[in-house]
């Protein structure tokens, strides 16, 4: 078996037969590593994740070219729930908890991920509660009443319950306070280390994502524009200015007081 848990090669995705969102995107996720996928709004990051977990059809999207292999098998032939049961868990953008179910019922629903799994270990809520003690305290309340941070914990906990080999994380920092973002990312790093889960992490918050990742890709209008180790990306002038919010050369954090109305153009667009 190859050492990459996920290989995406040259995929193109078209929505409604008209709007092309991905234009020949390729990336790989090695076993047990965290790979960050960064990019501005509308670059196609979430679409990439949906293509991997085969959920495009729900939004009238279609994988029109290219190939995605998970664990050496083509994903196009698997139903979405089948992929989850094989160990590919997708934590969707906006958390998507089942609001009118309790926390525990959310986990019961997530338990479907391990039905038909060979190793015979049942769903272990304890594992989830160990990483997220807060969820244990609130296990009887409706998920819709949880705070944003707790909902994100629940969303990650649900994926964790399926003992995945690969987790797709779509903007886990969305709408959370900086302190909570730090907490969540610490736990994500722990899960990665202790459970040996590979992760494909989509983020707007490039700082935290690159601090965590073993490798990074930067995408722009449906293509990968740059990739490399986080140190290399962080050192790049364009990345520093456009994704990390640093002023181009000086390395100072950019202040909105000095912002100019014209910006340096991204080099890859010229």
């Amino acid at each position: 078996m190859s050492q990459n848990v996920l290989e995406i090669s040259n995929i193109e995705v078209v929505y409604n037969h008209t709007v092309q969102v991905l234009r020949g995107l390729s990336l790989t996720v090695p076993r047990g590593e965290i790979v960050a996928l960064l990019g501005s709004n509308g670059a196609g990051k979430s679409t990439t994740l949906k293509a991997v977990s085969n959920l495009l059809s729900l939004e009238n999207g279609e994988l029109s070219a290219g190939r995605i292999t998970f664990n050496g098998a083509d994903t196009a032939r698997q139903a979405p729930h089948g992929l989850v049961r094989d160990g590919l868990c997708h934590v969707m953008e906006g958390r998507r908890v089942f609001e009118d179910l309790t926390v525990e019922e959310n986990l019961v629903a997530a338990g479907y991920a391990i039905s038909g799994r060979k190793d015979g270990r049942g769903a272990s809520f304890d594992l989830v509660y160990e990483y997220f003690p807060r969820l244990h305290e609130r296990r009887r309340s409706l998920a819709g009443y949880l705070s944003g941070g707790e909902q994100q914990m629940l969303a990650i906990g649900r994926a964790l319950l399926g003992r995945p080999k690969l987790m797709l994380l779509d903007e886990p920092s969305l709408g959370l306070s900086p302190v909570l973002v730090e907490d969540i990312f610490t736990i994500i790093a722990r899960i990665n280390r202790e459970q040996d889960v590979a992760m494909l992490l989509v983020e707007q918050n490039a700082n935290v994502a690159l601090a965590l990742a073993d490798y990074g890709y930067i995408m722009e209008s449906g293509r990968v524009m740059m990739d490399g180790a986080p140190e290399k990306l962080m050192a790049d002038a364009d990345v520093r200015e456009f994704y990390l919010g640093m002023a181009g050369a000086g390395g100072e954090a950019k202040s909105y007081r000095h912002i100019k109305h014209y910006k340096r153009r991204k080099r890859w667009l010229s």
Binding site: S53, L55, L58, N60, A79, P80, H81, V84, R85, C89, H90, V91, M92, R96, V97, F98, E99, D100, L101, E105, N106, V108, A109, A110, G111, Y112, A113, I114, S115, R158, A159, G162
Partner: protein, 292 residues
Amino acid sequence: MEWLFFFEVSLAGLGTGGLYALTAIAFVLIYKATRVINLAIGEMLMVGAYLFFGAAAGWALPWWLAIIAALIGGGILGIVLERGVIRPLLGENPISVFMVTIGLGSILVGMVELIWTANPRSLPNFFPTDPIFIGDAFLAPKTFWSFVVAAVVIALFLLLFRFWRGGVALRATASDQGAAYAMGINVPAVYSLAWCLAGVIAAGAGILLGSIGGISSEMGFFGLTVLVVVIVGGLDSVLGALLAGILIGWMEAMAGVYLGGEYEHLVTFILLMVVLLLRPYGLFGTREIERL
């Protein structure tokens, strides 16, 4: 004696209301899981009643075996409709699907008339026939027992919905289909399950209804009142379906006795209009606009 009479009529109304509530639950189940407005629910109910008739009178099975056969038949009917007709239409315009269910209703009526002719029949009686008295009030035994059965089935169903793993999957799918897929839930199987359960419930309601008033191929008209019930209750609310079912059953009985039989449906539809004017999403429905 005025109050006693009022009480008796109320009880009879609650009896019909129980059947409305039961059928409404079948409707809500389908709507919640698959977002299909199933106007063929009355005809599914009718087919269930005829299946019972066929098994009990045609094959001369004992009544309990005939009931089981009819319930299984209703479940199979639900699965066949979902797999054969509804699934290929998933993702289509809701109005197309809605129209297709109207067509399905006509087809079911036609099939029943081909097999059993259009003549009204009566079902073999299987309820105890001892008169029932609640306090001083007399209640027809059939009404009483059908209410009891409906109540028990509804209670069982609610428990199932709440504690069984498949029930959790149903509710999860109803609340967010994409996320349900991402949990490893087999969403198409959940659709089939919802239609199957709805078919079983509708068949059960059909048997109860038929045992009270006899069966005919026009029984599906009952589904129209059920549609009012679910709209009043809020399309996606089980609780709303229960309460609205009881309420409308009671109001119809009241109107039938105090105003005259021709006012029964008038009152129902006036209630529908009032509710739609004041709360367009129904008494307990999710507050979102459903374009139909």
